[in-house]
């Protein structure tokens, strides 16, 4: 819209933007064309009661509570569905309007059950509030309670449809926002209700338990199932979800210092709008479990016993310094956390680098393929960091590759499904059928780990079709001709053989993409596989070739599994870069930090997570500090990792929960969960989001940054930071990317800076094409004839340490059955309920089985996180992101029926 130049033209009718002016309750108001009367009123601070209206949903007009009167015509109308028109004289609370509004509510109340007083929606029930405002206690009507389904078999939500007022918000949320198709109106008249297909319980429908409908329901018809709490929280505190890399904005309902409920925040322009996923909505009950760490512990004579903070920190500091002095900086290592805040990760690596002189710092982001991403980051030189998820819905075409988003990052999947619903071509590249498949324009079911070949094949086809974006390649890239030549030499027959995708299917996909600027959504299936780095290069080549960069809804949307995976890397908890992703071997960068920190920094890269384990095995690594990670559960070959870490002389674990790793620690320091401290997380978009504590930490536990601040002092740092503000001040000064971190509230974006022209306004270098590489067909070994694909389930995050403690997730029992194709199912003579043993070169798992009719013969799907994440037994502890390593996503196995 063009900004208004003159206000006075409005009186005569706006000719610039078509603004409308009308009067509401005697006040002249102006609104843009197309606005409803309700919106016009709300914009001007005039409140109209509503039940079925929600700004995130299409207008519906079901409840008629928003009734207003037009004085000119005497007409009564539902303001939420009536467009504002010039010269309306609207009355929102005339005696006539009030009379009708009261009657509507009286009728609703006559149908409502009497259990209002103990309703868990309590004082937040909109119906109750409106009834109170209109002074309706007794309806004076013959009560007609409408006994309908009551459902609470699942551990997440209770549906008491006798309290339903048929506003349809749940249905619209389910269809318009999360596109799950779980519920719809069923039957009609007095009988009608929102129901699943055949009115089956939610767990037998396509419901994902995202709870979006529940947070929107204006009455107690949909309510969270809460075993420990009934009633209304004391206060609601905005915060950020602690699970995945989407970083949804939450509102935590707190009752006497306990988080009792979670809803999507009501903030504007949040990444998630009014949606959440099952983890964010329900799994935060892990915060209150008895396995929380509440006091420092020290191992004495083999037993863990409580200690004071002073004693625990003293022990940690002296032992670390002693080991470092005796065996050198390479004998100590620091494992930071992709779940801890930016401020904490900054302080953490600073302690390692300055006080212990080691670059052996890493974080859990390693597990999600950071090493494969690093070369890509270098290619753009930091110019391509910020990519808003909202852009996905504006994309011309979308390719989802190796990303099971409905399970891993559900909120991203909502956007993709909404885009597909609007007609955006959506291509899903995955060896398995995923939750997105049904929404896709087409599926390319390729053989595992052949994405590289497929992407090159697609690029080659587009070049053959002359569908490159010549203006873009001429202007911003170099080496296109050589790249084109290499593509034209590719043998597409071979592509077909290697990938198992027919040339016709590939051609169809190319047609979908032809002439479009494309958004690629890239997940763990690429990032954790053998050819991760090469595949990312090939994808980026395709982006360059099609001009899919530099604007919203295009480019590589690389998914982050953990909430602060991006931030931990930015803050330098990595072995080869300083804060701001400034390479260690860049002497200018190093000198800057040396000056600021008054310390010398070694230019040599330290140990990464895998090397830490290997060096511990060899006896070279002697002391390890682990903050907020659980390597004993998250890494491949957990038994081997345990043996390696047990060899250490000293291990400190700072965490919030009792884990496999705290069990072997010498000192345990109880930290605070994100809801119990202040800080910031950086999500996968590059949005730095701040939060303040919602509740205090349990017992003697402390915010992690405070623990580190105290520890640094004990290790010889001249002074403490003492506050988050001072920490942020230092970060802002040294890390240009985080110049905005001083802001301290709401959200700011990572600052992009690059020498590449594409990412600058003018001047600068061109981005080059990476060489085209090809892979060969792989045979299957006789001893391990099947291929396991490891994947996530949406109830858990990562290795499932925290979600595994969620009472509700545990109650929603998942047997973690391994899935087999119908052919293999028959070949192995399996029956429902049978268990099997899968054995790889590295270990084995025993699980129940399920037949998955969409799975290709020879593939076996093994869900991760469940059963203490035993799926990790199957894969080898190889480094990720290197072409000579087999990757962590698939592995050959043999199967025995038990």
């Amino acid at each position: 819209m063009i900004p208004c130049l003159f206000q006075d033209c409005l009186a005569k009718g706006c000719f610039l933007n078509g603004h409308i002016n009308l009067s509401i309750d005697g006040k002249t108001v102006i609104c843009p064309p197309g606005a409803s009367v309700l919106e016009a009123a709300e914009e001007n601070g005039i409140k109209i009661p509503t039940l079925c209206h929600h700004s995130g949903l299409e207008p519906f007009g079901a409840c008629r509570l928003c009734l207003v009167e037009d004085e000119n015509t005497g007409r009564l109308m539902a303001s939420c569905v009536t467009p504002a028109a010039p010269d309306m004289a609207v009355l929102t609370a005339s005696p006539r309007v009030i009379k009708h509004r009261r009657n509507i509510v009286r009728l609703m109340m006559a149908e409502h059950p009497e259990s209002c007083i103990v309703c868990s929606k309590g004082n937040r029930c909109q119906l109750r509030r409106i009834a109170a405002q209109l002074g309706i206690g007794e309806t004076g009507l013959y009560p007609m309670p409408n006994y309908k389904a009551y459902e609470q078999a699942n551990p997440f939500m209770v549906r008491d449809l006798s309290k339903c007022v048929l506003c349809g918000k749940c249905i619209r949320a389910d269809h318009e926002l999360v596109v799950a198709g779980a519920i719809d109106y069923s039957h009609r008249g007095f009988e009608s209700r929102p129901a699943t297909v055949h009115e089956l319980p939610l767990e037998l429908s396509s419901c994902t338990f995202c709870g979006t409908c529940l947070s929107m329901c204006p009455t107690g018809a949909l309510a969270p199932k809460n075993n420990m709490f009934v009633g209304t929280p004391d206060r609601e505190i905005p915060t950020v979800c602690g699970f995945c890399g989407v970083g949804c904005s939450l509102s935590m309902g707190v009752f006497s210092d306990t988080v009792v409920e979670v809803n999507p925040s009501r903030g504007k322009n949040t990444v998630n709008g009014s949606t959440l996923c099952v983890r964010g909505h329900f799994a935060h009950d892990f915060l209150n479990v008895s396995q929380r760490l509440t006091r420092p512990l020290i191992r004495r004579d083999g037993q863990m016993s409580p200690a004071s903070w002073d004693e625990a920190l003293d022990t940690a500091a002296t032992r670390f310094l002693a080991v470092q002095k005796e065996s050198g900086p390479s004998s100590v290592a620091f494992l930071g956390s992709s779940k801890c805040t930016n401020e904490e990760n900054y302080l953490f690596q600073k302690i390692a680098r300055v006080l212990l002189k080691t670059n052996s710092v890493d974080n859990g982001g390693y597990l999600s393929g950071r090493s494969a991403l690093a070369p890509l980051y270098k290619r753009t030189n930091g110019g391509d960091r910020v990519r808003s998820l909202a852009g996905l819905e504006k994309a011309e075409a979308i390719v989802v590759i190796g990303a099971d988003v409905t399970e891993t990052l559900p909120v991203v999947s909502y956007g993709l499904k909404r885009a597909a619903q609007k007609g955006t071509p959506l291509i899903v590249i995955d060896p398995r059928q995923t939750g997105l498949s049904a929404h896709a324009s087409m599926r390319l079911p390729l053989k595992p780990q052949t994405d590289l070949e497929l992407i090159n094949g697609l690029s080659a086809l587009l070049v053959r079709k002359k569908a490159q974006n010549a203006i873009f390649t001429d202007h911003f890239t170099k080496g296109f001709e050589a790249f084109k030549e290499a593509l034209l030499k590719l043998d597409l027959e071979k592509t077909g053989r290697v990938t198992g995708v027919t040339p016709e299917a590939l051609d169809e996909a190319a047609e979908y993409l032809r002439g479009k600027s494309v958004a690629f959504v890239v997940g763990g299936g690429v990032l954790e596989q053998r050819y991760a780095a090469l595949t990312l290069d090939a994808l980026f080549n395709l982006c360059l070739m099609t001009g899919s960069l530099g604007h919203a809804g295009a480019g590589l949307y690389v998914l982050a599994q953990e909430n602060n995976q991006a931030g931990a890397w930015d803050m330098g908890t990595v072995p080869d870069a300083l804060p701001g992703r400034q390479p260690l071997n860049d002497s200018l960068a190093r000198e800057k930090f040396e000056r600021a920190w008054q310390a010398s920094i070694s230019p040599d890269r330290g140990l990464d997570l895998i090397r830490m384990i290997e060096e511990a095995e060899k006896g070279n690594l002697k002391a390890l500090y682990v903050m907020g990670e659980n390597p004993l559960r998250a890494l491949p070959q957990p038994d081997r990792v345990k043996r390696a870490l047990e060899k250490l002389d000293f291990i400190v674990v700072q965490d919030i929960l009792k884990t496999e790793t705290t069990e072997i620690a010498d000192v345990v320091l109880p930290g605070a969960a994100f809801s119990e401290k202040g800080g910031s997380f950086t999500n996968l978009e590059g949005r730095i989001q701040f939060f303040n504590p919602a509740v205090p930490p349990p017992g003697e536990a402390k915010p992690d940054w405070e623990i580190l601040d105290l520890l640094a002092r004990k290790m010889g740092s001249p002074r403490r930071f003492g506050s988050l503000e001072r920490l942020r001040g230092e970060i802002a000064g040294l890390v240009p990317m985080y110049a905005g971190i001083n802001e301290g509230s709401g959200a700011v974006w990572v600052v992009e800076a690059s020498d590449k022209e594409l990412f600058k306004n003018e001047g600068g270098a061109r981005v080059s094409f990476a060489p085209v590489s090809s892979i060969e067909e792989e045979g299957q070994s006789d001893s391990y004839p099947l291929t396991v694909i490891l994947g996530s389930v949406r109830f858990h995050l990562g290795s499932g340490t925290r979600t595994g403690y969620s009472g509700r997730v545990r109650e929603f029992h998942q047997n973690g059955a391994v899935e087999l194709s119908p052919q293999d199912w028959t070949a192995f003579g399996l029956q429902a309920g049978d268990s099997v043993k899968l054995t790889s070169a590295h270990g084995s798992v025993v699980r129940e089985t399920a037949k998955n009719s969409a799975l290709t013969q020879g593939l076996v799907f093994v869900p991760e996180a469940v059963h203490n994440n035993d799926a990790r037994n199957l894969i080898g502890l190889f480094p990720l992101g290197q072409p000579d390593s087999p990757g962590w996503k698939t592995c050959p196995v043999r199967l025995e029926k038990l």
């Binding site: 269809h175 198709g181 779980a182 519920i183 719809d184 109106y185 069923s186 039957h187 009609r188 699943t196 297909v197 055949h198 429908s205 396509s206």
Partner: protein, 160 residues
């Protein structure tokens, strides 16, 4: 149940969500109800989410989710028929057959249903039997009608 054969119904209508009601009508006609499996096939072939197929199927009284009996006896309980004793007719039918409205007898011979107004109020109380209208019904006439329908079918069966 014989294997589902929907090709002839879906022919030329695939990927056209707006054909939903027509397709459901044809399925209802062919099978006498909407089999669960048919809903899944329709959902997939027309490109309509399953929940939407279900929601449409349960909205219209013309569709049924359960197989119906050979004979469908439908009482009108609309206002006009009601005041002329339609309730007695319903009691007669349900009592005689030992089922509730909406149910089918175990031998699969009868389904009893009720609707609200058949649009023939002047002739009430109205009962339809397999689509043909019976006006000015009385419990006695209804008993005979049901008896004769039952006999016919049993004879059919013994001839076969």
């Amino acid at each position: 149940m014989p294997p589902l054969e929907l090709d002839s119904i879906l022919e030329g209508r695939r990927s056209q969500p707006h054909q939903l009601i027509e397709v459901l009508q044809d399925v209802q006609e062919k099978y006498g109800y909407i089999p669960e499996e048919a809903m899944r096939v329709i959902s997939k072939d027309l490109g309509v989410p399953l929940i939407d197929v279900y929601s449409a199927a349960v909205f219209y009284k013309a569709f049924t989710m359960k197989p119906r009996g050979k004979n469908v006896v439908t009482m009108c309980l609309g206002t006009a028929c009601h005041v002329r004793g339609a309730k007695l007719l319903l009691n007669q039918a349900t009592g005689q057959l030992g089922i509730e409205s909406g149910e089918t007898t175990e031998d699969g011979l009868f389904t009893v249903e009720h609707v609200n107004c058949l649009g023939a109020c002047a002739l009430g109380p109205v009962v339809t039997e397999n689509g043909s209208y019976h006006h000015h019904m009385t419990p006695g006439k209804l008993r005979k009608l049901i008896d004769s329908l039952g006999r016919e079918k049993t004879e059919d069966a013994s001839h076969a």
